[in-house]
């Protein structure tokens, strides 16, 4: 034995055996808070918001025609669903967003993957894609009308060009971040370029691609109203447009509400897809 084992070194300076005081402060760095707090705070913000809104209307701070109170909006929402067949419009809008977004993904994912993988592809497309990100989508409505007519295709095309450029950029950035060592591993195991692409680059970037999709789906919802203003016979945006023509602001607000709820719902859905599709990921959101 070169060391001496000493078991109890308790000596001077022993602290009194008082139970430690758990410090629970309201503002603590990066400290997780109890789930109950989250829920309470999350509800609190909405209560504050709706409360303030109703109060502002009640106090007549603003014009009631232009800013009806939340109760009136909910009432309008009920009427729209119960009597005006609004549900059908919602379905049509959801279909438009989903379909156009699906198309955008079908183009952006392969292109983004190729751009992220091969510098040559990137050098070719990147200047083009970056410039088109600034595209003011509404300005393209006349061209889209001409090319696609006044039907659904035109609206789908508008939603498509509203998100495609950002989507490509995000995806190619994520693919660029695939660790080089994963690719090198596959190559030294005898993988051909096509095999590496299929068995490494794609699965490695898929989780982050899904996150990019979630972000851009949110943007797609903000374009819905613009897309459905033009030549729309149905859809949430068309209903809001008509409501505007006859100054039914409560219906417009109801439409905004529905879009918000739908957006959150699909965000939640994609979160779940992420969870279930990538069970192998470390505990990330």
């Amino acid at each position: 034995m070169t060391g001496t084992v000493s078991n109890s070194t308790s000596s001077a300076g022993m602290p009194k055996p008082n139970t430690p005081v758990p410090r629970q402060r309201f503002f603590e760095f990066k400290k997780d808070i109890p789930a109950s707090w989250s829920v309470i705070l999350g509800i609190a913000v909405w209560i504050c918001f709706f409360g303030f809104w109703e109060y502002a209307v009640w106090q007549q701070w603003t014009n009631e025609i232009l800013l009806p109170g939340p109760v009136k909006v909910l009432d309008a929402l009920y009427t729209m669903f119960a009597e005006n067949g609004f549900f059908n419009d919602v379905l049509i809008s959801v279909w438009r967003v989903m379909f156009s977004f699906g198309l955008a993904c079908a183009v952006a994912i392969p292109l983004g993957i190729l751009m992220g993988t091969f510098r040559t592809v990137e050098a070719f497309f990147s200047p083009f894609v970056s410039a088109w990100r600034y595209l003011p989508a509404p300005s393209f409505i006349p061209l889209l009308l001409m090319w696609f007519g006044a039907g659904d295709t035109q609206k789908l095309a508008l939603l498509f060009i509203g998100v495609i450029w950002f989507l490509i950029t995000l995806i190619s950035d994520h693919v660029k971040a695939v660790p080089a060592d994963l690719i090198r591993t596959s190559v030294t195991l005898g993988g051909s370029r096509w095999q590496v692409l299929r068995t490494v680059v794609v699965p490695a970037s898929l989780p982050n691609i899904t996150i990019a999709m979630r972000q851009m789906l949110a943007v797609s919802w903000t374009y819905l109203v613009i897309a459905e203003i033009t030549a729309a016979d149905a859809g949430i945006g068309a209903v809001m447009m008509r409501a505007k023509r006859f100054l039914h602001v409560d219906e417009i607000m109801a439409g905004i509400l529905v879009i918000g709820v739908l957006g959150l719902f699909f965000d939640f859905l994609l979160r779940q897809v992420y969870r279930f599709a990538f069970p192998y990921l470390e505990g990330r959101s």
Partner: protein, 324 residues
């Protein structure tokens, strides 16, 4: 049946297309009405050869012609009969009070001419105010928010503004005899050149179907308004606000021309249209509007009316004995 593509924005004045469709008034045509809220997008579709008929406000033709758009104004559809108003905010009681202030109009639209003519009528220069491009949908909010002193409105914005904004008042409205006589604030129906020339028979049938619908509506105003409300997806109350309840054409905000009146305005039938308008006044209207666009520097020169107006369809119908 032959397909005819028609478009217009959500406005009861164009609702007769729905009646024509619903009641099968053009049995051998397949009329398809498409709601397109921005008329300029309808004209884009015309340029692309994807639209045959467009219903819109009546002032567009000179602009379209100068841009080379293959389009003709074939009919004056209706006259604003009180639905359009110039409403002033609190403290503004006369044209004089408006000098140097901002007025909300649809730039390059009828309402701009309406305001400009009204200023001149009151002895002021047309450019003594600043025109702000705010459509009536938004102008209501803009007036409440301040910033614009007056605005040209159609219903229901005018009535709502008067109700919501204390001290607001009407400076002018389209029901006044002068405006009715001038016929400035009006809707028209446009057809593409190819449609008019190459499918003339169809074009005639299409026009006839619309006048049949107007007659039918005059006889069945309640059911007609219901069809229009359903077709435009608006409430019956909103339709009645514009078209009236009884088919008399004078209990709403719009006066709808029947076939003979429209033909007279076009100069395609003998006699004078109502409101002391003259036979063939459509050409004067063309010149008036064109001159204003030149003043506003939106087109370069006034062209001959026949470049943008086609009144022979009415004449042929009239000659064939049709009377609406």
């Amino acid at each position: 049946a032959e397909k005819v593509k028609i478009s217009g924005f959500t406005w009861p004045g164009y609702g007769f297309w729905h009646i024509a469709i619903e009641k099968g008034l053009a049995p051998d045509l397949d009329l398809q009405y498409q709601t397109i809220e921005d008329p300029y997008e309808s004209f884009n579709l015309v340029a692309a050869g994807q639209m045959d008929v467009v219903s819109s406000t009546a002032e567009f033709t000179p602009v379209g012609v100068e841009s080379g758009l293959p389009i003709k104004l074939v009919a004056f559809g209706n006259l604003s009969y009180g639905t359009d108003k110039i409403v002033a905010g609190p403290g503004i009681n006369s044209a004089q009070d408006l000098v140097g202030k901002e007025v909300a109009v649809l730039e390059g639209g009828l309402s701009q001419i309406f305001v400009a003519m009204w200023l001149e009528q009151n002895g002021l220069a047309y450019d003594s105010v600043t025109y702000r491009n705010i459509i009536a949908d938004d102008a209501f909010a803009a007036m409440i928010g301040g910033g614009v002193a007056a605005s040209e409105f159609w219903e229901p914005y005018g009535a709502n503004t008067l109700k919501a904004l204390d001290g607001s008042s009407v400076l002018a409205q389209s029901k006044e005899p002068y405006w009715l006589q001038q016929g400035v604030v009006a809707d028209g129906h446009y057809m593409t050149e190819t449609f008019v020339t190459e499918r003339r028979d169809t074009a005639r049938k299409t026009l006839k179907a619309m006048y049949d619908a107007i007659s039918w509506w005059q006889d069945n105003p309640t059911e007609g308004n219901q069809i229009i409300a359903d077709g435009m997806k608006m409430s019956v109350a909103d339709v009645e606000l514009v078209l009236g309840k009884d088919g008399s054409r004078t209990d709403g905000g719009l006066y709808v021309y029947d076939f003979v009146e429209a033909a007279q305005f076009c100069g395609s039938a003998p006699g004078n249209p109502p409101f002391e308008q003259t036979n063939g006044q459509i050409n004067d209207h063309w010149n008036l509007v064109s001159e204003w666009w030149v003043k506003f520097k939106l087109i370069k020169s006034v062209q001959a009316p026949d470049k943008g107006i086609e009144c022979d369809l009415h004449r042929e119908l009239y000659d064939a004995g049709y009377r609406g």
